[in-house]
Amino acid sequence: MDAEVSNPYQTLGVSATASADEIKTAYRRLARKLHPDLNPGDKAAEERFKNVANAYRLLSDPEQRRRFDAGEIDESGNERPQQRYYREYSDHGEAGRYGNDAGYADFMDGDDPFAELLRRSARARGNRAGQDLHYRLVITLAEAIAGGSKRLTLPDGSVIDVSIPARVVDGQVIRLKGKGLPGAGEGAAGNALIELEVAPDARFRHEGDNLIVDVPVSLTEAVLGARIRVPTATGEAMVTVPAAASSGTTLRLKGQGAPRQGGGRGDQLVKLKIVLPREPDPELHDFVAQWQAGKDFNPRQEGA
């Protein structure tokens, strides 16, 4: 035992003539700093606190203090049986009912591995968070683009309204906080994790983020050009068919395709397809029959 510990006055940092109040004040100040339960990770705190507590027990009892001052006893002869501190239980996960994740609950919100580890840690304790529940929700392409609200019926018959943000992609997961299983103790409820499945829109061919649609145009529209209405994933759009367009001419509607992973949208491609009237038209027939330039043009010839 070192010299500092053997003198209770030095241990408490008071003079040998200190009053009872001064001794109490000094002890309280040290106890607030050194109590092992206020220093869960400091292994040396227990020994330091024990010295301070023993010094105080001796000096706070007038008879014991008198005997120490007279040299009849020393500080070490007056120890209480060792106390087991709360921190010992807490550090071995035995005090789960008290443990609390309020200090880092926000770190558990993400979908990253760090958040998952924290959630697992919180679950492992007595006050564990509830389990997450996984669902799958099929939405239309239009809903994936524009967002909206969709009702989901859970296995227990309850319903939740899922708010779908704009521009979601197939496989994206929406997390509804607290809609999973209830937590144990004071643990937070788990989350509902809803994986979105974007159903393909049958009106379009899906090539990556691009949507391709064949649009029929009349011969007149193809020859003279026109403004025509075409379907889009979310409604309709007006596009300009250039004069002298052919079947296969492709018009691009930028940013009108399917939502793209990481933001933005692909394009919609409008492929023109020239369609003649169902009933043969004599006037058209006669015109083409005597249209020399038309007869001279061979689209299968190289360079046509």
């Binding site: 443990g99 994740d101 200090g103």
Partner: protein, 101 residues
Amino acid sequence: MRIIELTTFLRESRIQQHTLERWIEQRWIIPEDAERRAGLSDINAARACFIRDLQDDMGVNEEGVEIVLHLLDQLHGMRSAMQTLRAELDRTADAKSADAD
């Protein structure tokens, strides 16, 4: 964890029964069977000792104890989370060194 008799609990934690009842009421102490207020454990006794130290030795008043316990429980929650993270990092490091071998 060990369930202990009420008299043992009071002797170990050096508090009176009415004090224990008030602390249970305030949820500073939560018996193992919280609903029936039964089942006092050595963990509860250690926690009661700490609360007693806060009040008697450190002069912390009731409002102060409430705050200290709330923050301390968060601190232990964080320590537990850090232990999980450390175990996971150790596991990852072990797996990597096994791969290197």
